[in-house]
Amino acid sequence: MNPGRARHELGRWLRLALLPAALFAVIYAWPMVQILRGSLNGFDPIAGIVPALKPDFYVKFLTDSYYLGVLWRTVRLSLMVTVVAAIAGYPISYFLVRSRGRLRLLLIIVLLVPLVTSPVVVAYGWLVLLGSKGIVNMALIALGVTDEPIKMIYTAFTLVIGLVQVLAAFMVLSIAASLQSLDWNLVLAARSLGAGGWRAFGAIILPLSLPGVATGCLLVFSLSMSAYAVPALIAGPQVKVMSELIYEQTMALLNWPFAGCMSIILLLSTTGLLAAVGVLGRWQRARQIAAAAAEA
């Protein structure tokens, strides 16, 4: 590309990108730069922030197996939430695009209910349902499945369940968007060629809806990595994730440098993982293309 055209292209890009970039540079990037700078400060429990330019908190975090363990748990549980949401959400998306009118509207509203309700209320709702005197345990005891109430709340399990419930809408709506634009004639064509329902699904519907699944996974994974209210209120602090540590440092200890440090590490981990998945995806596609070319 000659420099002239490159400049031309850049100019056209800039005309569009300038407004969002400038706005977000001021109202988002600048505050985050402050956080990054602040994370290199020192901290005294009484006097507060001690101005410095040292990566002490990063060293502390990265050399302490406890903190690394929390980061790893956060990643692991977020991946689990993402996978569960994708698998559990897919049939709902499928149903959503194939239903119409009021039913569809009702389902969308049902999906959005957990999203718009205060997490405190949702958490209390789960306690009411899953607690030892909750309906579920009552039912289990009445049915003779168990004699003692089972502890179903304040575990890693409830963290996954709780996040899936709150974030399901993002996954379902993303998948539904791509299923919506799917050419259903292709399904007909596949079936007329003798593919059974499930084969047609695997061969046509699933691959073509993968972009929607990808968007949904991006949203759900990012939001799981950063979620605070659900882990703190529904899973309890014994299942510690990054945001709880960050919240603790910010609000209880006022140790803003360490909180900033952990936020930066969390942000880098999330973007790093997404980038790795992106690179892996591109590499996979490149390999497929190369394989197809070699065959031809």
Binding site: V120, G125, D183
Partner: protein, 290 residues
């Protein structure tokens, strides 16, 4: 549409299983909220489920708390404004990313999407510090700016998906027919991705409307958004039916707004995707089908 004639992939048994599953999933999604809403109909002073006795007293008391109602109005205003700005920012950023391949697009994407990856307490704290330094710490502008950052990722993600699924030759066709870029955008691109823009706006609105974590740092004496009021109230005094009434009443009002807007804008078609579809669906298969 072709869909009406297609059978889907599942047989009758599969369909039955699917319906049962959907019912189960719906119950799972709303059960805790329904339990609490039902619990707040109790006549006791504390929430129990199942409720003891039934009364709407707690809901009616909501109207005796003018600060809750003014916060509700403020929340609606902030959410609508923030969602609108987010949709415009999302649209413009998505257009830049899809229409003009540039190595800087990755950076732009990171800039507008990464707020989603940070705990909101960090965002709130960072905004409080930086905005105060910039001179709009405790103003509506600050609160609004914080919400714009918070909700733009959702708008960007949805509009980007919509725009990517749009056939780019449609815009070229419009240009070749004499439309300048602006008219091509208004007459062809925008109408076709309207649904994903609307979906992005809707999600942004809901996230802003439900946020307490960022707002708690940016509130001012005159402006406390409703979720902050509820969150504070729930945290600093024991859970009582009045508060859960306000909280679930809020859900009901929010969803009523959704239903109302749905009948106006045909919400069930809200999430995009349809853009460009017919052009990619040549009906020449009809010949084969016949």
């Amino acid at each position: 549409m072709a869909r009406q004639t297609s059978e889907g992939v599942a047989g009758p048994l599969g369909r039955l299983i699917l319906h049962v599953y959907i019912l189960g999933a719906a119950i799972f999604l709303v059960a805790p909220v329904v339990a609490i809403t039902a619990g707040s109909l109790t006549t006791t002073q504390y929430v129990v489920f199942p409720p003891r006795g039934l009364t709407l007293e707690w809901y009616l008391r909501m109207f005796d708390r003018p600060e809750m109602l003014s916060s509700f109005a403020l929340s609606l205003g902030i959410a609508a404004t923030a969602a609108t700005i987010a949709a415009v920012v999302g649209l413009v950023a998505a257009l830049a990313m899809v229409r003009h391949p540039s190595p800087l697009n990755r950076l732009l994407w990171l800039l507008v999407v990464s707020p989603m990856m940070l705990p909101s307490v960090v965002l709130g704290f960072a905004f409080l510090q930086a905005y105060t330094h910039m001179g709009f710490g405790s103003t509506v502008a600050g609160l609004l700016a914080g919400h714009v950052v918070l909700v733009t990722p959702y708008a960007v993600a949805l509009i980007l998906t919509g725009l990517k699924s749009l056939d780019p030759t449609l815009e070229l066709a419009a240009r070749s027919l004499g439309a300048n870029p602006g008219r091509a955008l208004r007459r062809v691109t925008l109408p076709l991705i309207l649904w994903s823009v609307a979906a992005g706006w809707g999600l942004a609105f809901l996230v802003s409307f439900g946020d307490a974590a960022v707002s708690v740092f940016l509130n001012t004496p005159e402006m406390v958004t409703l979720p902050v009021r509820i969150f504070d109230a729930l945290r600093y005094s024991p859970l009582n039916p009045e508060l859960t009434a306000i909280s679930s009443g809020l859900v009901i009002v929010t969803l009523a707004v959704l239903v109302a807007s749905a009948s106006v804008v045909r919400f069930e078609r809200l999430f995009g995707g349809r853009a460009g579809e017919p052009a990619k669906t040549p009906k020449n298969q009809e010949g084969r089908r016949a």
